[in-house]
């Protein structure tokens, strides 16, 4: 499927991509200003880290030796700044436009994938268990790779006991701030959550020497709420499924980017907010692209890991892959900003946890999201080694068949494993959807 260079020259889109690859530079900057880095692998708690005067960092975003894509993107941004979007495109000439755009986006994906591969093999080198789920392997591999940089790690007790145990293991190398999110929304669960968050805030205050006030939490929560709302706006373009503001490839890349960036807000929350706002505005005013013949496929679950080349595969087959886990688990819902902010944040954590705390609820969340986003089909990502979400497979098959939405399941264990088989399976599915 063709790629339009002009889409990648949208300044805000370019800036977000560039910032994504700038983690090494950010780390140097934070070090110079004595700002502490707090590791995180789930999109939870970053607001509190900012409020404490520290910066959250998603270790998977850090390239060990910097990224080639960063140089390419910087060059492109410079050209765009000097010559303007139209002139840059025309200077490249029509024959050069597409390879250049594809080059940028392919480099983004391939370098990010390279990162994942490196962390996967680092986890092996650190003697982490080889047959556990991909998410915990790369989380462990990436966290330990940057144990000298990260001073504290945010750790959450969720329904996945495996994740809790992972944090316990990370704690051997990096101090963790473990915050339990009880699998309940009862009054005593709220009280417990409140006290757990107080403990977390104390840990963050001890780390930075700053005091975390309710007003500071509110300030960063307001920004986070705005970012989440914009993220929802990007997803909700799917509600008018025949017309979309970006080509499928660019749209998929944007979703992949947001899916990662929401975890640490690119360690630069206000910059993220500013550029995402500009991008959303741009998307709203753009000429719409016809999607009538492009099947849109929702991938579930995503956040425990998936084959990183899958978006590219789906694109090559004429489809568009949608990743919307955080929408399904209510993680893009706003946190209340009136009253006690710790209480508000606690309620947000309990409510989003409730969306995936039982197998039936999680399946209902996926189906609701698929219907809300008006996708044409759902791909169930059976993550080998996942003992929390993957066991929902049977129930998912039964419940989705009742809706009439077509679905398939694919297996994922390690990057690059069985890709040919995966392509065949997805190709047949897309073919089927196109016929329908």
């Amino acid at each position: 499927m063709s790629v339009d260079m002009e889409e990648f020259l949208i300044p805000s889109f370019l800036n977000l991509n560039l910032q994504f690859f700038s983690a090494q530079k950010q780390i140097r900057k934070f070090r110079r200003s004595n700002r502490q880095l707090v590791g995180t692998i789930l999109p939870l708690g970053a607001e509190l880290v900012f409020a404490a005067g520290a910066s959250p960092i998603f270790p998977l975003r850090i390239g060990k030796k910097g990224f080639e894509a960063e140089k390419l993107l910087r060059g492109t941004r410079l050209a765009t700044n000097i010559l303007g979007t139209n002139l840059t495109s025309s200077i490249f000439g029509s024959t050069l436009v597409q390879p250049q755009a594809e080059n940028i986006i392919n480099q983004f994906l391939s370098e990010y994938n390279k990162n994942l591969c490196e962390y996967e093999s680092n986890a092996d080198n650190f003697n982490y268990l080889p047959d556990v789920c991909f998410a915990t392997r790369i989380a462990y591999g990436s966290a330990l790779t940057y144990q000298d940089v990260v001073k504290l790690f945010l750790a959450w007790g969720t329904r996945c006991i495996w994740f809790s145990q992972l944090y316990g293991t990370i704690n051997n190398s990096i101090p963790i701030a473990f915050t339990d999110i009880p699998k309940s929304i009862s009054a005593h669960a709220k009280e417990y959550m409140y006290e757990e968050l107080q403990q977390l805030i104390k840990r963050l205050e001890n780390l930075t020497g700053n005091t975390v006030t309710d007003d500071l939490i509110r300030e960063y929560t307001v920004i986070a709420n705005d970012i989440k709302a914009k993220y929802r706006d990007v997803l909700y373009h799917l509600k008018t499924p025949e017309k979309m503001p970006l080509s499928p490839y660019a749209y998929m890349q944007l979703l992949a980017l947001l899916n990662i960036c929401i975890i640490d807000f690119l360690s630069a929350m206000k910059y993220f907010q500013k550029n995402l706002a500009a991008l959303v505005q741009e998307l709203n005013s753009r000429k719409q692209i016809d999607y009538a013949t492009t099947p849109k496929l929702l991938l579930v679950p995503v956040f425990s890991g998936s084959e990183p080349t899958l978006p590219q595969i789906v694109n090559d087959l004429g489809g568009c892959l949608i990743q919307a886990d955080y929408l399904a688990y209510s993680m893009l819902d706003p946190v209340k900003t009136e009253g006690d902010m710790i209480q508000n944040y606690g309620e947000y954590l309990l409510n989003s946890h409730a969306c995936w705390s039982s197998t039936k609820t999680i399946v209902e969340s996926w189906i609701h999201t698929a219907q809300e986003l008006k996708v044409d089909g759902v791909i169930f990502n059976r993550l080998i080694g996942c003992t929390t979400i993957t066991p929902a497979q049977r129930l998912f098959k039964e419940m989705i068949s009742e809706t009439g939405l077509p679905s398939i399941d694919i297996d994922f264990n390690r990057i690059g494993e069985n890709v040919a088989q995966l392509k065949n399976k997805v190709a047949s599915f897309i073919e089927l959807l196109k016929k329908e």
Binding site: F178, D180, T387
Partner: protein, 368 residues
């Protein structure tokens, strides 16, 4: 498959229990569900401890995935293989001990139409977690009252706590006499004492323990065996791992898993819900709560105090409690202290006995 005779005896017993108008509550067998409260509610807590065979693991794989621990898969598989027994279960208790329990109980409830009552454990054991645990047990008690239709009085709860403590005291006496007399009972025999509790409840278990204690005085210690400690995942009824170990010339003198007498070495100190919360949240050998190094320290101390010659650490494949814990900490702490240990991993549906026997043979040769 499990012996038909044993199953048919249990079915007869459960039917007798039901004739007394007792409600049968199925609970996962890990030992963290507070049975005292169920007992106080006039219920019969039946531990879902039949597992260990290939067929039910494969059958369970139709409900869960092959990456769910094979104990959880077996547990759900048994509901198909033993319908005569499992249809007697009136409700199941849904805890969150591990990923396997969360998934299996939900699927059992959904596919076998059994109502469930939930109880949530925290992941840590700080003061806030204890407060939450107390409230959660109160909530559990209320849910049971609603389900059974009768109030649980303070006296009933107190009586139940005393009863379970009495059983634990008897278990502790068996452990003490075992140590004093050079471990005359094998690991399998000790485990059978607990199986009595799993299938027949606390009162039958107390009776059985009393008999065993008096017989124990006349038994002599085992000779020419390698004394080992068994830790990690429990051994459900039908899993032959202890047979394989002891047939190779090892003697399990301490079993720290939920299927071992040594798991039950503490008592509920305060006769109240708070006492129960403190007891269950601090169950060190459960491995459930994170950030506790006591598990490893206790294991090494048990090894030293018992003059064992090695440690066998058992893992049910895809167990979410033990693998990640042991990989980093346990191996290091045992290796540092030069304690001989063997890690055995098993998937009931896949791992053949021959493979385990080879591992055990190699471990034995380390001593020779």
């Amino acid at each position: 498959m499990l012996e038909d005779q044993r199953i048919s005896e249990v079915i007869t017993y459960i039917k007798t229990v039901k004739e007394l108008n007792k409600i049968v509550f199925g609970i996962m067998a890990h030992g963290l569900i507070p049975e005292e409260i169920i007992h106080a509610a006039g219920g019969f807590p039946f531990r879902l401890s039949l597992a260990g065979d290939k067929n039910s693991a494969l059958k369970g794989g139709e409900y869960l995935t092959s990456a769910t621990c094979s104990f959880a898969r077996n547990t759900i598989g048994q509901f198909e293989f033993q319908p005569e027994l499992y249809k007697e279960i009136d409700a199941i208790v849904a805890g969150n001990y591990c990923n396997g329990e969360i998934s299996a109980i939900e699927m059992i409830s959904h596919y076998f139409n059994i109502p469930s009552i939930s109880i949530i454990f925290p992941s840590t054991k700080n003061e806030s977690a204890l407060k939450f645990m107390i409230a959660e047990l109160e909530h559990f008690k209320e849910d049971l009252e609603q389900f059974t239709g009768s109030e649980i009085t303070i006296d009933q709860l107190s009586e139940a706590i005393l009863l379970y403590n009495a059983e634990r005291e008897l278990i502790q006496q068996v452990v003490k006499v075992q140590q004093e007399r050079g471990f005359p009972l094998s690991g399998i025999e000790c485990m059978e004492l607990l199986y009595k509790h799993f299938l027949y409840g606390v009162k039958a278990s107390i009776e059985n323990l009393r008999t065993s204690l008096s017989e124990l005085q006349e038994k002599s210690s085992a000779m020419g065996v390698k004394k080992v400690i068994f830790a990690g995942s429990g051994v459900p009824i039908g899993d032959n791992i202890l047979q394989l170990i002891e047939n190779k010339g090892f003697w399990v003198i301490k079993n720290l898993t939920w299927t071992g007498l040594d798991y039950y070495q503490s008592l509920v100190q305060e006769n109240s819900i708070k006492g129960l919360a403190e007891f269950y949240i601090n169950a060190e050998n459960s491995g459930r709560m994170i950030l506790s190094d006591n598990y490893f320290a206790d294991l090494v101390k048990t090894y030293e105090d018992s003059y064992a010659e090695g440690i066998i650490f058992y893992i049910i494949k895809y167990c979410s409690i033990f693998p990640s814990v042991i990989s980093a900490k346990l191996k290091r702490s045992l290796s540092d202290q030069q304690i001989p240990f063997l890690e055995i991993e098993r998937d009931y549906g896949v791992t053949p006995n021959a493979q385990l026997q080879t591992q055990l043979q190699a471990f034995k040769e380390m001593f020779e």
